[in-house]
């Protein structure tokens, strides 16, 4: 089986989800943003929206994040949708392309949402084939995002992280690890977050997502409408330790705040990445010193110093 080339990548720094209310501010003032991510479907077609994105792409690395492909749908992939995504990729030259581990269409009828499905061997073969189909058409590797979901199917034969690991092995795709989605699933459905972080193949993770959900009638709904929760930051720190530093996105889609609020959230992610760096630097210095015979025993820095 041939896997597609990894292609270009995003820088290992924090970025933000760029939405319409901030287009003109970003283009006119060029604020300090590591990179930006947009929803692919909003730029299908041309006109003013594509023109804006092409301008943005001249100043920032761009990640194209799809919400409408429905990779796990039983129905055939929408050829028109794939064509439009290919055309958009050719126009923008994105640093990353990603989709969700979800479905949206069955029997010709779409539910325009990110829907969960039973994690079975049959579903795995189906989804892996379709990921390859998309990667063949785009000529590049795509990242697949773990889902937030509100029900789990008893029919599942494996956990989501096992499904993702198999999907990586079968299709050569990468993983977009949405830390907030994992947090939401842990709260709502008792998903074992530690097992998830340790269960996905670290080398395949190409990006993290962070966002803030809202509690509604006893269910934590993934609204992307609030600052990142402390518990989600803790999971992010755990992911940084076990998986490593990766491009990290702050997503905010409802009640979108002023740009500086998004930048502050991105800074919080960056500080955690930088803390990893200084930690790694200390480890390196530690190793340097270990080679010096004169160093007293007590000053050695441990593995997780």
């Amino acid at each position: 089986m041939t896997h597609p080339p990894a292609g270009p990548t995003l820088p290992d720094i924090a970025g933000i989800g760029l939405r319409a209310p901030h287009y003109s501010e970003v283009l006119e003032q060029r604020p300090a943003l590591g990179w930006v991510e947009v929803h692919s479907e909003n730029f299908f077609g041309g006109g003013a929206s594509l023109h804006t994105l092409l301008q943005v792409a001249q100043h920032y690395p761009v990640s194209l994040h799809g919400v409408g492909m429905g990779l796990a749908s039983p129905d055939p992939l929408d050829a028109g949708h794939l064509r439009e995504l290919r055309r958009l990729c050719d126009a923008v030259g994105p640093a990353s392309v990603s989709e969700h581990l979800c479905w949206n269409t069955v029997g010709g009828v779409a539910i325009n949402d990110l829907l969960p499905f039973p994690y079975t061997r049959d579903a795995l073969r189906h989804v892996a084939g379709r990921v390859q189909q998309v990667q063949d058409i785009l000529g590049r590797r795509i990242l697949i995002e773990n889902l937030s979901y509100y029900i789990a199917f008893r029919e599942s034969e494996m956990r989501e992280e096992e499904f993702l690991a198999e999907l990586v092995a079968h299709s050569g795709c990468g993983i977009l690890f949405d830390v907030n989605n994992l947090f939401v699933n842990a709260v709502n459905l008792g998903v074992d977050a530690q097992a998830f972080i340790r269960g996905i193949p670290a080398d395949a993770v190409g990006e993290y997502h962070l966002a803030g959900p809202s509690m509604m009638d006893g269910c934590l709904v993934d609204t992307h409408s609030a600052p990142v929760y402390d518990a989600a930051w803790a999971l992010y720190e755990d992911a940084l330790r076990h998986i490593g530093k990766r491009p990290t996105l702050i997503e905010w889609d409802v009640d979108i705040p002023a740009l500086p609020v998004l930048q502050r959230e991105a800074c919080k992610a960056q500080q955690r990445m930088d803390a990893m760096d200084s930690c790694q630097a200390s480890l390196s210095r530690g190793r340097e010193r270990e080679r010096l015979p004169s160093l007293p025993e007590g000053e050695r820095v441990g593995e997780r110093g």
């Binding site: 929206s49 409408g68 539910i111 325009n112 039973p118 008893r154 008792g190 006893g218």
Partner: protein, 259 residues
């Protein structure tokens, strides 16, 4: 279909039509399974409602937010989404409004929906490179009549018995408007102009001609049909105008060659 696909077909009905779910198939340890299902039902209706709000802002102003919510609910019940791309949802609203008893007192509402959908389509239409006039120089004059022109994919031609574009323009700044409905109808071209959708008045003869071309009629036959209805029609002026405006973007010769 395999088992998991059957499960999704059942779940689709649960979310869209309120069909009962099989509680035994769903695991929800921390709240009733019905609560988890409710999130998806709410998202389904909410996302389609928001798509209609995005495509039909003037209809929403005309009927009010509250009534629009009811109207959207009724529309959604009878019109499932057919595409994973939410921007394609809602094209049948004009026909729906034509049959909707509760808005009969606003007779221009269906035409307004047609206008707004045309605007929405023009917004999301792909970019097409401008037509290279040099290509026409290679066509022998006697072959002109056989040319089949392609219109820009974002173009819609509309004829209304009401001043819908005037009403539409009056609603762009959210001000009170007074427009005499008896002032007559309009002939409109909705298209992409300088990256953005544009609503332009168009002469009836030119609309007639472009409409024939859009239905794949060869230029000669389209011109004859237009002249029969509009003897003053000037085909040379029309051709120049709509090439310059980026409305005519490509042609096929009678032999089927697309240059």
């Amino acid at each position: 279909m395999t088992n998991w696909a059957d499960t999704l077909a059942r779940f689709s009905a649960v979310v869209r039509t309120g069909a009962e779910f099989d509680a035994g198939a769903i695991a929800c340890p921390n709240y009733p399974a019905a609560r988890g299902v409710e999130v998806y039902r709410n998202n389904y209706r909410g996302n389609l409602h928001d798509a209609l709000v995005g495509a039909y802002p003037v209809i929403r102003q005309l009927v009010g937010e509250e009534f629009f919510r009811l109207l959207a609910k009724r529309f959604i019940e009878g019109h499932p989404s057919r595409s994973g791309n939410l921007h394609r949802y809602g094209g049948e609203l004009a026909d729906f409004l034509g049959r909707f008893e509760n808005t009969r007192h606003i007779p221009y509402l269906p035409d307004m929906a047609r206008l707004e959908w045309a605007y929405h389509r023009a917004y999301f239409a792909p970019d097409v490179p401008p037509f290279d006039l040099a290509r026409l120089a290679d066509i022998a004059p006697e072959a002109y009549a056989g040319l089949r022109w392609r219109l820009h994919p974002g173009c819609t031609l509309l004829v209304s018995g009401f001043p819908v574009a005037a009403i539409w323009r009056a609603h762009q700044d959210d001000e009170d408007f007074r427009i005499d409905l008896d002032r007559g109808g309009e002939h409109l071209l909705v298209h992409r102009k300088d990256l953005r959708p544009d609503i332009a008045d168009i002469a009836p003869a030119e609309l007639h001609w472009l409409a024939q071309l859009q239905q794949d009629m060869a230029m000669g036959a389209a011109t004859e049909a237009t002249l029969a209805a509009h003897p003053d029609f000037d085909v040379a002026a029309a051709l120049r105008r709509w090439l310059a405006q980026g409305v005519l973007v490509d042609f096929e010769t009678a032999k089927g060659e697309r240059s």
